[in-house]
Amino acid sequence: MASTSEAVATRTTNILLAGVGGQGVILASNLLSQVALEAGYDVKQSEVHGMAQRGGSVVSHFRFGQKVYSPLFTAGTADILLSFEPLEALRYAHWLRPEGKLIYNIVQVNPSTVASGLATYPADIQERIAAAFPRALSLNASAIAEQAGTVRAANLVLLGAVSLELPFSQEQWETVLRRELPPKILEVNLRAFALGKAAAEA
């Protein structure tokens, strides 16, 4: 855990967020940008819109540091890969640095190619990920989110888990979450964040 946040002092930190359209990948990236700004960093974030909601593969590049130039980074330079879905974790695994950290949600979402019988979802996906990335952290973000109050808070569970890798304080996170989330869903999302963090610490 420590090695990732140490990198911040010397160079820009790159986090690739990956998932399925509609899961809140870009929202999570937006929140990360706000927290990094709160903590005094320069930030850049980049994603491709439009196709996102149509159940397609979605990635967001999130970068923070003293001074960040490019809004996007490239394969092999991600310090952290935060994936909302296992197939997407495997699809973007090659973006990680050799020492990079993978955190992912184990709940599978079928692509249209699988739903129409044209392809098969890999049956051993978690084993394949574990073999390639022994340090990977897997969690059932949807189940944890249910505990917090709603499966739709899975993205906040994942943010809680990744927060341990980042140099942002709990206070900075809470300031941003209280400011950015609608009051109606604030408490359940704060709980989801806390549960995600606890799951990652365990």
Partner: protein, 602 residues
């Protein structure tokens, strides 16, 4: 404290700070959020116009009375707007006018990756290109000043990576135009050749003055580092150069047309080797060569298609002997994992387009379409969209197909149909439909009416009775428009009713006369349509998988072995299914239906 903003949000903010009073445009990725954001600012007027040509003409009208204006469009939207854009250069607007075009290197959502910086020399207007969200904001303000200083429209060109990337932006205050609004005769707005003989000459003289001015413009600047290597860069590519060659000297260009000749020459003198790094066309390189300034490397080092990135810039230039590349970008990453199922975008569960494309696929029709969520009908398992040229082109081209086929036009094997969305119909489908009627065509057109402009994020259309700014407006009746054009058969069908769709199509082909079928179903995403999920009755499902042909991600398949029975079993994910019933219509065994409440079963 600065704000985190996307380039588009920053352009909207810049438009407000620059005193822009009227903004127009048409939705198009990656530009759509500009107008949506601008519309939320106070004391301005913003509208989605029917198409980009109308948008630019309306904006020019605003400048005619002294109002500062802005128009927004995506890369290919500039093609639609080209007529008034070219002429705006000859007009020389009375008030500041910035036209924002968002290009799309890599074609994330566009038919072409044309490099719209080329519009500058073609239309003889200056082109600005920002590299960050802060510059997106600042360049709108600078663009209005530039526009008013020289009485020229200004093209502000972004790409996906500047429009849709987020970064920190310092905000400022609004500066209103000092000019009062007045409707007076502005002779420059008339381009009647007899009265405006010298207009072209005036445009050329204006370009000369601009060519001189850009040498002093603060948005072009030399950033000296190691004098061994000098790189000329603009836009997103500037940021990649900064990552790839952190020590190099850089000539940062904010005005890629016309390039500042004296500044380029000065930079050439200050560095030992000069390179040009740009995406798509060697646009700046060509200008630099025409200036007679020698270049050590440019377009031949980088691909002329798709977008660039920091690693590509580092690796290609390094391979060509350019020193100082960031070693972190020279590492070869792991190879991607092979053989994973693709996850392309597809119709949302419950989308009204799904049933239509299932029928078109089943009937093996040739389908001419265009741009929208329905373009996804080209993908498996439907494979039911065979041509997609540009907005409105499905309707125009299917007419051309008929005329081209001649006597074979009514052969059963040539049965064909055009599809078009409701918003696209207003954009450029109406003229195409009128062309069919007037020029004695017999085409069948399906208007896919989901009551929104869906793919770009759910913008309003003229049929909804509401404007961008949320005001009530007359709601235009699509069927009435078609009847007014003289279409003999116009019918409305429930998009979820596969049998009805098939019957209507068969009748249309038999009749051999122009037919419009309006397939109606509100967009489930935009209108948050939600019903009780349907279920599969395991003892009725024989695993024939006919239902999977509708390609819905709410459907899944459990193999016989996994299900512990003789046949495969289809499943429905209750978290995704909204109960549209389309898959059930494919089932010959009555195995899919609404969930039966437990009380009834007991």
């Amino acid at each position: 404290m600065p704000s985190v903003m996307s380039g588009n949000e920053a352009i909207a903010r810049g438009a407000w700070e620059a005193g822009i009073a009227v903004a127009t445009g048409y939705p198009g990725t990656p530009s759509s959020e500009i107008l949506e954001n601008f519309a939320t600012y106070p004391d301005i007027y913003a509208e989605w116009s029917v198409n980009e040509k109308v948008a630019v003409e309306a904006a020019l009208g605003a400048t005619e009375v002294g109002a500062r204006a802005l128009s927004t469009m995506k890369v290919v939207g500039l093609n639609v707007a080209a007529d008034p854009v070219f002429n705006a250069s000859y007009i020389g607007p009375r008030a500041g006018y910035v036209i924002v075009v968002a290009d799309d290197p890599g074609r994330y959502s566009s038919q072409t990756e044309q490099d719209n910086r080329r519009m500058g020399p073609y239309a003889k207007i200056p082109v600005l290109e920002p590299s960050s969200s802060q510059e997106c904001k600042d360049f709108v303000i600078f663009g209005i000043e530039f526009s008013e200083r020289f009485h020229t429209p200004v093209l502000l060109r972004t790409t996906t990576r500047t429009s849709h990337s987020k970064g920190l932006v310092e905000l400022g205050e609004r500066r209103e135009s000092p000019e009062p609004r007045s409707l007076i005769h502005e002779p420059r707005y008339s381009l009647l050749p007899g009265l405006t003989r010298t207009r072209h000459q005036e445009v050329e003289e204006r370009m000369e003055r601009i060519r001189e001015y850009v040498n002093e413009a603060p948005v072009n600047r030399i950033e000296m580092g190691d004098p061994e290597v000098g790189i000329v860069a603009t836009g997103a590519a500037y940021q990649y150069v900064r990552e790839a060659f952190p020590q190099a000297s850089v000539l940062k260009i904010g005005i890629p047309y016309p390039l500042p000749k004296r500044l380029v020459e000065e930079f050439r003198r200050k560095v030992r080797r000069l390179y040009v790094v740009e995406e798509l066309d060697p646009f700046m390189e060509e200008q630099i060569r025409i200036m007679g300034v020698p270049i050590d490397g440019g377009a031949e080092l980088l691909p002329r298609f798709n977008e660039l990135d920091p690693a590509l810039v580092a690796q290609r230039l390094s391979a060509a002997g350019v020193p100082g590349a960031n070693p972190d970008l020279l590492n070869r990453p792991l190879a991607p994992v092979e053989g994973l199922p693709q996850r392309p975008p597809t119709f949302c569960p419950g989308c009204g387009h799904r049933g239509v494309f299932t029928v078109l696929s089943k009937m093996k029709l040739f389908v001419a379409g265009d741009i929208g969520c329905y373009t996804l009908g080209a993908m498996p398992p439907f494979n039911a969209l065979h041509s997609d040229i540009c907005m409105g082109a499905g309707v125009s081209s299917i007419h051309g197909v008929e005329k081209g086929l001649g006597e074979a036009a009514f052969d059963k094997k040539n049965r064909r149909v055009a599809v078009i969305g409701d918003s696209t119909f207003f954009h450029s489908g109406m003229t195409a439909l009128l062309n069919i009627i007037w020029n004695r065509g017999s085409s069948v057109v399906i208007i896919l009416d989901n009551s929104t402009t869906a793919m770009t994020g759910g913008q309003v259309t003229p049929a909804l009775g509401r404007t961008l700014m949320g005001e009530e407006a007359p709601a235009v009746d699509i069927g009435a428009v078609c009847r007014a054009f003289g279409v003999p058969k116009v019918e409305t069908v429930d998009a979820y009713n596969l049998a009805a769709l098939e019957l209507s199509l068969k009748a249309a082909f038999e009749a051999q006369e122009p037919t419009v079928i309006i397939a109606q179903a509100p967009c489930v995403l935009e209108y948050k349509v939600q019903g009780e999920p349907w279920v599969v009755e395991a003892d009725k499902c024989i695993g024939c998988k006919r239902c999977l042909r509708v390609g819905c991600t709410a459907l899944g398949l459990v193999t016989a072995a996994e299900a512990g029975r003789k046949k495969d079993l289809v499943t429905i994910d209750p978290a995704l299914c909204i109960g549209c019933g389309v898959c059930a219509q494919m089932c010959r065994f009555d195995a899919i239906g609404p969930h039966v409440p437990a009380a009834k079963e007991a």
